[in-house]
């Protein structure tokens, strides 16, 4: 079935797709978003670790391979709002040293843009969605920019108690920049610090897409079609333009949505899968893949967590899931001896009992009466810090089409991922430093949260670059090969940095969407 042609069809109603929808709809374009999952509303965001699992995929069409398989479900989105419906809203930005690693160190990749190209969009996004923090305090590590629109969030004893340890290690901590309201902002209420961010904030205090860009887009006229699974991007006979997408609707009936521009905002692994499945005789390796780089350079973050248990009541349950305090003190690429890559440090988060981040998992070795005793002590006395580490882009970390197919006949994809020695060395160095910091706090017990090396925040797969030979898109997310095909989201990152990616996703999406609106006639014409 064919639908009326629109100006823009966006695949995915998460963070990046929402920005493109808001900008382009406000620019007068007719925009349709096709979203694979349900149409979640704020009232669906039940305060429960059980119910919070519903807004994540029930497995997906991905097979996990490599030495460090990318366990993606915990952090993935499923439905309107995407992963940003349950993200922690930590809003650190990338720093200037992230953009020129190859030039400065002869390894990894350069971005085709610099920090200064993105900085104005960080400032715009902060105003758009509402960020609390202390920009001036951060400027000991980064160039000056606009102040954040809200003062920092409250801190609690479970965060403050770490300051002594950080001071002993020479690590300066500043208020965490977060996309949450410390005060009322644009009619949205202030946070009440109950720590349910990770299952979705229904009050609007946390800037999820429903209360920010997607809400704006819908008010301006964007149409969102939930339960719509896109299977292919369609091209003209010459293969030089995209003409729309094929998808299956809620009744699992095939539909075609024609559009002048297609924006793929379906996640770092799903975008390559779609491009592979859109192969034609003109694009035998898949769309936008003449370089062979679609699906390549997948990257993840990893964290080195450290726990500290105190006898005093430090209100472990109060705060937000994200961070109260942050530091770029170890963000230089060679900060940790014998390792390479940035680290971003956070402290202070509200702890819940269950789920992956729950404090029952702080001592996975305990069970039975030992676990019961630990739970009693931890409920009011446990706290943690984390150091996120940077994985460098490696062409062997990749997405490949698999032979299994989904219910629509679309091949599954493999996510093949292994950390290299630089990443392992950085992970270990951050554990060692975390323990030193924890011991200096005077805690009763301290230990490292060691287990399998975690994979967090999948990035890359459709990286940006200066030309078609070394990348898939330009700095706006526009594919080198087909001018009216855009890719949005962390898939276009050329390197990963160590900062939580959503702030950068929004900034790059805003930059790309504004460029598309400004150059509409040449792109879509």
């Amino acid at each position: 079935m064919a639908n009326e042609k629109v100006d823009v069809v966006i695949v995915g109603a998460g963070a990046s797709g929402s920005v493109f929808a808001a900008v382009l709809t406000k620019a007068g374009k007719k925009v349709v978003i096709l979203e694979q999952g349900p149409d979640w509303q704020l009232a669906d965001l039940v305060s429960s670790d059980f119910w919070g699992r519903r807004i994540k995929p029930a497995s997906g069409p991905f097979l996990l391979e490599g030495k460090n398989p990318f366990g993606y479900v915990y952090q993935a989105g499923w439905g309107v709002g995407g992963a940003a419906l349950h993200y922690f809203a930590n809003f650190p930005r990338l720093l200037p040293n992230d953009f020129k690693i190859r030039s400065e160190y002869g390894r990894a990749l350069d971005w085709p843009i610099s920090y200064q190209d993105v900085a104005p969009y960080y400032d715009k996004v902060a105003q758009d969605v509402g960020v609390s923090g202390d920009a001036k305090a951060e400027e000991i590590w980064r160039p000056a920019g606009a102040p954040y629109p809200m003062a920092p969030m409250k801190t609690f004893r479970n965060g403050e108690i770490w300051l002594k340890g950080f001071e002993a290690a020479g690590i300066r901590m500043v208020p965490a920049a977060v996309a949450m309201n410390s005060t009322e902002y644009k009619g949205r209420p202030p946070c009440i610090y109950d720590g349910w961010c990770h299952v979705g904030c229904p009050t609007g205090a946390l800037a999820n897409p429903l209360v920010t860009y997607l809400g704006d887009a819908k008010k301006a006229g964007t149409e969102v079609r939930p339960l719509s699974t896109v299977t292919r991007v369609l091209t003209n006979a010459q293969g030089n333009k995209v003409t729309g997408v094929e998808y299956y609707d809620a009744k699992k009936e095939r539909q075609v949505q024609e559009a002048s521009v297609v924006v793929l905002a379906a996640w770092s692994a799903q975008n390559p899968r779609l491009l592979f499945n859109s192969a034609t005789d003109k694009h035998p390796k898949g769309l936008a893949n003449s370089s062979g780089l679609v699906g390549k350079y997948m990257m993840a973050h990893f964290s080195s967590g450290t726990w500290a248990l105190f006898d005093e009541d430090i209100q472990s349950y109060m705060g937000t899931t994200g961070a109260q305090l942050m530091s770029y003190e170890r963000y230089a690429k060679t900060s940790q001896k014998g390792a390479f890559g940035s680290s971003f440090i956070v402290a202070g988060s509200a702890l819940k009992t269950s789920d992956l981040g729950g404090f029952a998992n702080a001592r996975l070795d305990l069970f039975g009466s030992d676990l019961a005793a630990f739970m009693k002590r931890a409920a009011r006395g446990l706290t943690r810090i984390g150091a996120f580490g940077e994985e460098l882009p490696n062409i062997e970390n990749r997405i490949e089409a698999a032979s299994d197919k989904d219910e629509f006949g679309m091949p599954f994809a493999k996510i093949i991922h292994s950390f290299d020695q630089d990443a392992v060395a950085l992970w270990n160095a951050n554990f060692e430093e975390g323990l030193k910091i924890a011991k200096a706090t005077g805690a009763k017990e301290v230990w490292s949260a060691r287990g399998n090396m975690p994979t967090i925040h999948l990035m890359g797969g459709t990286i940006m670059g200066a030309n078609a030979g070394d990348s898939v898109t330009n700095s706006y997310g526009q594919t080198h090969e087909i001018a009216n095909l855009y890719i949005a989201g962390p898939g276009i990152f050329a390197t990963a940095g160590a900062s939580n990616p959503t702030y950068t996703i929004l900034a790059l999406s805003l930059r790309g969407a504004e460029q598309l609106a400004a150059k509409w006639s040449t792109v879509a014409g």
Binding site: A43, V46, S47, W51, G71, D194, G195, D355
Partner: protein
């Protein structure tokens, strides 16, 4: 805001309990209530439920009475997209019943091989020893998903039903502080 709060409370109250089949019809119950009312199993066998009860209780005291078997049985009997199991975020591929059958079968086989009895009939010390070895992938002749992963998933289920509820927070003496109340107990 007032509108959000009102809708939230209405919907949360309606959604919190799980749908159990009783007398041919569906009723909303907590797993603890389902256990106390003797709600029939839908997918697990009686023997599998007995293993799961004993395993859950070994992992987290209180899991049996909190209805771990009823919880898992109900959850693996509904479409995967609706499931609230930790298995979901641990990347277990649906249908989740396959994993639980394999995991419980592996525990039973290990128990029979080591002790010549069903896991549910072992002494507490024997149960604890088997679980500790399973946790470390040290059970000789183990056949099934890796023991450490079985431990992780089933321990998570037991933690969920004992500590993940509003009652669980009360028992630990910390506030639950919901925006949207799951239900009185969930």
């Amino acid at each position: 805001m007032h509108d959000i709060e009102r809708r939230a409370l209405i919907k949360g109250a309606a959604m919190g309990a799980l749908a159990f089949t009783v007398g041919g019809g569906e009723v909303l119950l907590t797993p603890r209530a389902a256990r106390s009312q003797g709600v029939p199993l839908r997918t697990l066998t009686v023997a599998q439920a007995a293993t799961l009860d004993a395993l859950g209780e070994t992992l987290v005291p209180g899991a049996r009475q909190a209805g771990i078997s009823q919880f898992v049985d109900q959850q693996i009997s509904i479409p995967a997209e609706e499931a609230l199991l930790e298995a979901r975020v641990l990347n277990v591929r649906p249908p989740y019943a396959n994993f639980y059958r394999a995991a419980l079968g592996a525990v039973e086989r290990a128990s029979q091989a080591l002790n010549g009895q069903p896991f549910a009939d072992l002494s507490q010390a024997e149960q604890r020893s088997l679980v500790d070895n399973m946790r470390q992938n040290k059970v000789d002749g183990w056949q099934g998903p890796p023991g450490s992963f079985v431990y992780l998933v089933l321990r998570s289920d037991a933690v969920d039903v004992v500590y993940g509820t509003m009652d669980g927070y009360t028992a630990l003496g910390i506030p639950y502080m919901p925006h949207i109340v799951p239900t009185k107990r969930w």
